[in-house]
Amino acid sequence: MLIKFFSMLREGGIKVSLTEFLTLLELLKQRVAGYSVDQFYYLSRACLVKDEALYDRFDRVFAAHFKGIEALFGDDVAEIPEDWLRKQLERNLSDEEKAQIEALGGWEKLMETLRKRLEEQEKRHQGGSKWIGTAGTSPFGAYGYNPEGIRIGQEGSRNRRAVKVWDRREFRNLDDSVELGTRNLKVALRRLRRFAREGAADELDLHDTIESTARNAGLLDIKMVPERHNAVKVLLFLDIGGSMDDHVRVCEELFSAARGEFKHLEYFYFHNCVYEGVWKDNRRRHSERMATMDLLHKYAADYKLIFVGDATMSPYEIHYPGGSVEHWNEEAGATWMKRLLNTYPKAIWLNPEPQQRWDYTPSIRMINEIMEERMYPLTVSGLEQGMRALG
């Protein structure tokens, strides 16, 4: 009974446990719900969903199960038919050919044209220079070359310049169990430590107790103090995926070191630049996002902000609304960066890219400008400088 509903809920991303499910059955047995669907709906919701953010998702599963509607969960973005984009042919363009291809004009035009093309086009297309498909010279599609191209349905990043990626690439979570070489990083991070007493007074203050008792003519007067712990609070933002793939190892090390070092460490992932949403679990990056705005309200201004990312991206991604490679962002990345920096005055950006290359990548220069020159290389010495800037 209802086992299909249970498994559908789990597929739909609501982590219902077995005990919760059994509780629901118990309630049904006790006739709490009566016999109306509405009652059953309220009852199962109170029983199985423990977060109002999941209500909507629950509603969809419920509707799908009890009305027999086949629903797709989590995917709001239109899927591009896969066979249409399947890699079959990859053409290597000569430099001459590349030179012949002119970009179609500005960013807005590119997006508008794509929208039109998507409407016009219905069949799979390959080669050629207008339709969306693979290995052609049209600005839309994958495995081809156009300097301002939009990449659709391509697994790896071929030249890392495409302005829009529609693939839903999944990256594994940064693993913080790596202990390799984290010792150096830990030593550097230790600079940030600042012990303070905070919270409830639950430790005996021996010194003060003796003193007060003496002053109290020998009558015991116990004094308590709060426990001492590292009072530094850190928000860690990690860039993940794309050009960061090359730096996964060193980031894992940093992450693992930071986890051990701070009691108040909150980490979030972003892709290339921070926009209106970040996520905590990279496997569920599309379904479990957290609004950056909420984050700004949730964590007080005494948190220190550390970005880790190579800042290597298309300048559109920083300065234009809608410039993100993964979704449509209403506001430009720079706006969100500034918002974060306004809230958290103590902030640095750690860049795994070697410092001598920074000047050649325009986006690194732009990010460094936004950060007010507080970008440091992700090396032990860079980390030390960064920690000094934060301290």
Binding site: K15, T23, L27, V32, Q39, Y42, R45, A46, A200, I222
Partner: protein
Amino acid sequence: MTETRFTGTDRYVATEDLMTAVNAAVTLGRPILIKGEPGTGKTQLAEEIARGLDRPLLQWHVKSTTKAQQGLYEHDAVARLRDSQLGDERVHDIANYIVRGPLWEAFDQEVQPVLLIDEIDKADIEFPNDLLRELDRMEFYVYETHETVVARHRPIIVITSNNEKELPDAFLRRCFFHYIRFPDHETMRDIVDVHYPGLKKELLEEALKSFYDLREVPGLKKKPSTSELLDWLKLLLAEDVPPEALSSDDRRKTLPPLHGALLKNEQDVHLFERLIFLNQREGR
């Protein structure tokens, strides 16, 4: 069974989903976790359940320094030490220094009580985890006196949270959950009716319209909630404001009368004044 069903009271309007959730919790004797915008009556719910079902109400207001142990009992070692120095007789029995917490009191009631654990998110992150077994089995062990306290009747536990901290999964799994949505126009009329039965119909309509318009204004830092609406209506009644003063013609051009009851934030009032200024300019 009929008398154990909660259906709202004469001064509390419960929506059907809320009633269902509460009744589920009452039936199985499990805690119910209530979330929702501030001012939607989360805390009041516990009082009304107690009233509606005619049960005693116990309250435990959680603060940032509250420890889970304080809900069970506290061993006042300091008092015992002092007494020992003064040679008090009481010192020989450790039970004299065990101070009962609200959870113990609730477990020891003659009839099934309602226990309110208010604003659980204010406490330390570990707080809910420390109560897992107690809420699940409704029993705990007192180390000092080697006794196990078992609930005579599983209390109806109402827990409220303002979402300041995430609650652990293990804790959530043991609770029912209900999110009190902001009431819609219909429900709001019922709520106001319960509180001010004699309210003139036209005044109520205008006031509600004006209130919902105010909530629609984008960018408000703190949207006015039900409790603020009720306060505002009380003021309107006390000042005897005529319904015409709230009428739609000039609503966009002036602040509603006695707006201090609705807008609690300086920035919000400024925002509102700016909007009115813009509207007036447009109208010209």
